[in-house]
């Protein structure tokens, strides 16, 4: 044995301690002995023991009581009780109190040998299981939800709070704010984290397909259904079902979904077998569901089923203090992916990023940073390496006026056509003179 298994024998009979320790030493174990609970607890404090053989009947503190104290010191200790009195009661009591097994004196050597080997295997599996869980946790850990603004701190706080429960969560926010990221964070911090999180993009699938996608189908359920297929509901069993763009589900599927949420059972399309499932629902939408209810396109009962705990992710333009943190995070992320050195932003570029409106939210910011990382010439990202003329854009676009919109559009067309006036005028469906006038009016300048 490369690293000997440490085995502690606790028995008030000297002869038992001696003979057992001799027996185990010949097997290469590292053996310690204790004649009573006090000595055993002292031994527990000074050294780690893998397996503890514990006599039930001892003067003073008995084995069952001592086991509880041992578990307080080392919850992972594997305990095997030794008893001279083979009674079912004692055995049941020992096993109920968390012992690995029990053995009666005099011990059959073969039984003892197998029992200890099983305990070692059990322990090795426990350790392996713990290590694998840790590795899975690391693997499952979603991208960090970045943000230091009070709004995002609140989102993180709510995420942490709701993750520990099994409550249905509705995440609301504009497109690109990171709703799926929050859903994954909730799942990965929940008791269900070792089971899958299954995402259904309700907006991307037509009516019939969504039904089959959710519930699965039996062979021959419809033309083309050549094989039985499990649906997302079945795949999410034990884990989390993430319904993205839930506001886009058609009325029939809404009714079916409501039934599943209430009964936690369903049948596959074209099937009769009732399938029981256990999953948590997290849904996300950027739609105004209350308006949809008023318009009769979203079921009110489903809304109340889904809208138990709401997390609203604020748009990026409402938490501008997060932009530098996010931008630097994405620089590091894409530098790693592209195998480039980590770049920084010039003061002007960073100012541009902060001032920009970010209608596409975090997703747009990430795309902008990724693009800048591709085209940057040196290790500092400059404002003109960003995919927009931001300062001008911000100055006019944020005013929300028609003139600002017009200016924005003209700038965009001119840029696309490399300031070719004739081509731009043609696209804008105005004559060249009008375009010149507008360039003058909006003080537009061709970049040098």
């Amino acid at each position: 044995m490369n690293s000997p298994i440490a085995l502690l024998i606790v028995d008030d009979e000297n002869i038992v301690r001696d003979s057992l320790s001799k027996w185990f030493r010949e097997d290469g174990y590292s053996v310690g002995t204790a004649e009573n609970a006090v000595v055993a607890l002292r031994q527990m404090q000074t050294q780690h023991w893998d397996i503890i053989l514990l006599d039930i009947k001892m003067p003073g503190m008995d084995g069952i009581e001592l086991q509880q104290k041992i578990k307080e010191i080392d919850a992972t200790a594997t305990i095997i009780f030794i008893t001279a009195h083979a009674s079912v009661d004692t055995a049941v009591q020992a096993l109920k109190s968390g012992a690995f097994d029990y053995i009666t004196k005099p011990i059959d050597p073969d039984h003892l040998s197998h029992l200890v080997l099983n305990a070692i295997k059990h322990r090795a599996l426990q350790n392996e299981n713990a290590t694998l869980k840790e590795q899975i946790s690391e693997f499952l850990n979603p991208d960090d939800i970045i943000g230091d603004s009070p709004q995002m701190k609140k989102v993180l706080e709510l995420t942490q709070t709701v993750a520990r429960t099994d409550t249905t969560v509705m995440i609301r926010g504009e497109s690109g704010t990171g709703k799926e990221l929050v859903a994954r964070a909730i799942h990965c911090n929940s008791e269900r984290k070792y089971f899958p999180i299954v995402t259904v993009n309700c907006g991307a699938l037509p009516e019939g397909i969504l039904e089959s996608e959710l519930f699965g189908h039996e062979r021959g359920a419809f033309t083309g259904a050549q094989y039985r297929r499990k649906g997302k509901l079945e795949l999410a069993d034990g884990g989390t079902l993430f319904l993205d763009e839930v506001g886009n589900i058609d009325m029939k599927t809404q009714m079916d979904l409501l039934r599943v949420i209430e009964t936690k059972q369903f049948t596959r399309v074209g099937g009769n077998n009732i399938i029981k499932v256990d999953f948590r629902i997290i849904c996300a939408t950027n739609k105004d569901l209350e308006k949809a209810i008023a318009e009769g396109t979203f079921r009110e009962d489903l809304y109340y089923r889904l809208n138990v705990f709401t997390i609203i992710i604020p748009p990026l333009r409402e938490r501008k203090s997060d932009i530098p943190i996010l931008a630097n995070f994405f620089v590091k992320k894409h530098a790693r992916v592209m195998g480039k050195p980590v770049a920084s932003f010039s003061a002007e570029a960073m100012d541009t990023l902060v001032q920009y409106d970010w209608r596409g939210n975090v997703r747009e910011l990430e795309n902008a940073v990724e693009r800048a990382m591709v085209i940057k010439k040196n290790n500092v990202i400059l404002a003109d390496e960003l995919p927009f003329q931001l300062s001008e854009h911000h100055q006019y676009f944020t005013s929300g006026s028609l003139a600002a919109m017009e200016r924005e559009h003209i700038v965009s067309i001119l840029k696309q056509n490399n300031w070719n006036i004739s081509r731009s005028a043609e696209i804008l469906q105005i004559d060249r003179v009008t375009l010149y006038n507008k360039i003058e009016k909006y003080e537009l300048k061709r970049p040098s």
Binding site: E13, I15, V16, D18, S19, L20, K22, W23, R25, E26, D27, G28, I82, K105, P106, I107, D108, P109, D110, L112, S113
Partner: protein, 184 residues
């Protein structure tokens, strides 16, 4: 290797199987092995409550009789035990000079099978070599063919060979050299 082994015979085994056992031990441990009449008080070690003989008490007697430079094996035909276990095939003084081997559970008749003298001899020789291995300081081996593999059933003994595996043999050579130096 000049280490000496003495077998104190307290069994009713006849000369022929004893000769074969000695030869097997000599062959596998490359030591000279001699046979002596025993002067052990086996009956003194009888435990009335269990109806068996206390192995450690026999071992203590052997330890007292064993000369410093000789490994002594008490070969008994009574059923032996140590208090916590229901039986043992043998017991050794780990890293010491004394060992006890019982032939009681090594014969086929004990398990209701027809007698097989050759198998009996093989089992006794394996157990003697195994317990002597412990007196040299060898631990149980995981190699299922090695004589130092732990055996709790007689079938386990039949599965293994009479010899030490390469790893145990290398260790045995070092340990027996140390043993010789210690006794010089």
């Amino acid at each position: 290797m000049t280490s000496t082994i003495t077998i104190l015979n307290a069994t009713t085994l006849s000369a022929s199987p004893l000769r074969d056992i000695l030869h097997e031990v000599e062959k596998n441990l490359r030591c000279s092995v001699s046979l002596q009449k025993h002067s052990l008080d086996i009956e003194k070690t009888f435990d009335t409550s269990r109806g068996q003989y206390y192995s450690t008490a026999i071992l203590t007697q052997v330890m007292k009789r064993a000369p410093v430079s000789t490994k002594c094996v008490a070969l008994v035909d009574v059923d032996v035990f140590i208090p916590v276990l229901s039986f043992v095939f043998g017991e050794a003084q780990f890293g010491g000079n004394a060992t006890v081997v019982s032939t009681h559970r090594l014969c086929n008749q004990f398990y209701g099978m027809p007698a097989d003298e050759s198998l009996h001899v093989q089992r006794i020789a394996k157990e003697i070599i195994h317990e002597l291995g412990h007196t040299y300081g060898l631990y149980h081996c995981r190699n299922f063919e090695c004589v130092m593999r732990s055996s709790t059933y007689v079938e386990d003994i039949d599965l293994k060979k009479s010899s030490l595996c390469n790893e145990c043999w290398q260790l045995f050579e070092i340990l027996s050299l140390n043993n010789l130096k210690k006794n010089e």
